[in-house]
Amino acid sequence: MKGLRQRSEQRLRGIRVPAPFDLDAFCGEVAARRGRPLIRRPVPGLSAEAPCGLWVATDRADHVFYDPGTSPLHAEHIVLHELAHILSGHSGVDGSIGRLFPDLDPATVRRVLGRVSYTTAQEREAEMMASLIRGRSAPPPPTVLGRVADAFGFMETEGEAG
């Protein structure tokens, strides 16, 4: 059985991650791949009695909800976790949807996945992918200078700065 890291790397192959990282640009990339709008919305207090992030796929769009009551980097990671579900084609249902969005017609909802814990294979994979997107050093630019800088270790990356 392949490791979680290896599986996640494979899923991310071919997906353009902006360097330096920009969440808006990455959401644009995901929306372009899906061929439909991706709507990102903060829901204060989302995590109090529900997941801290939620992906709701309807017939027309992907909706990503996240709890903004945390640090900016963490909020960004919560969104990335949901985007990883989208990119992986994960599926599932979450009982919190009716409680969180009572006006939403359940018939229009195709998929719902929330970020609660990493106890299922899908959640672990989404979490690993989100970490790889945001947490690893950016690959060197595909130029001689970029490759030289990477080989000798003087390339500035956010990961190294942190």
Binding site: E127, M128, G159
Partner: protein
Amino acid sequence: MVLQVALLVLLWGVVVARLPTLWRDARQRAFWATIFVLALIKTSLLFPETPPILPNLLGVLTAYFLLRFLSLLTGRGGHRWHLALTAAVLVALAGLAANGSVTLDRDPFPLTVAYWLVPEGFIGWALITAAVLFWPVARDVPAGLPRLGLRAISAGCAMVAAYGAAKAVLIILRGAGLTDVDFAEFERAAPYLQGGGTLIAVAGASVPAARRSRAIIEAYWSLLVLRPLWKAMRDAFPEVILFSPRRAVFELAGVDDVHLRVYRRVIEIRDGMLALRPYLPAEPVATTDPAQAEAEAIAAALRRHADGAGPADNADGFAKIGPEMSDEVAWLSRVSSAYRVRTAAARTPRPSGSAR
């Protein structure tokens, strides 16, 4: 002798220090192989019984790995061509050695001249390619150590190539019948050019790496500093931990992955803090140090959570910080240190009873 020892220490030091980079990519492997074979050559020269052909064969291999490294840097390919050429040079060298004398202490035969010119030409080509590549690239890298390092690599390679060229000219002149060419005198001065050039080039390649090494050491330090806070969250909310430290050794094994491990540690602490938010005390803790106040609030929330108190919506949440990873690491490190100090103080037995 001092130069030889310094060079050997540097070469084997780089070989050992760069061992973890073998798992990184083909570029790092090619660079490591170049230095490793170079270290073998210099070590073999310490032993008088080393067959004279061995350093030359290893020199050709060094040139091959250097060319491989350069082609991976430029992205031009040519791997099969380099491999075929190297094999041809090695076969030619072995064939020439088998058919004649390889020493230069008397008038060389044409085969002996060819024996020396074939590897010198191949190695010289690799060295000049390196010198020509790194000098202009140095202009575009940040001033200071990175630029100095690349220029040193270029200058060092040029010095060793100059040594090879001078030796080739002398061999040709000797082969052409000029009997007053004194190899012994050349070999007395040559180590400074060849050894000095190698020393400068390898030192140049090591200088910029100091920056990455510093970043990696800082990342390991961050992992250590963040551990008390992370451990508190792990104990309270084990479901937010993606990898146990033991599992992380396998999944995030590379040296460069230490940044990813720091990122995971930050996210898992933040996951725990988000879960703790409903248990924060209603009133902020009175202290002048904001990091200490945050640590006290976390400790109070952990206590309430452990006591089974119900969640409440009576707090503003945690301190606001900047959006970058460096902001998170700096702030959470301060909070973690304050948390560690308060936890240690809580565990310290207080003096009591008799003053005796």
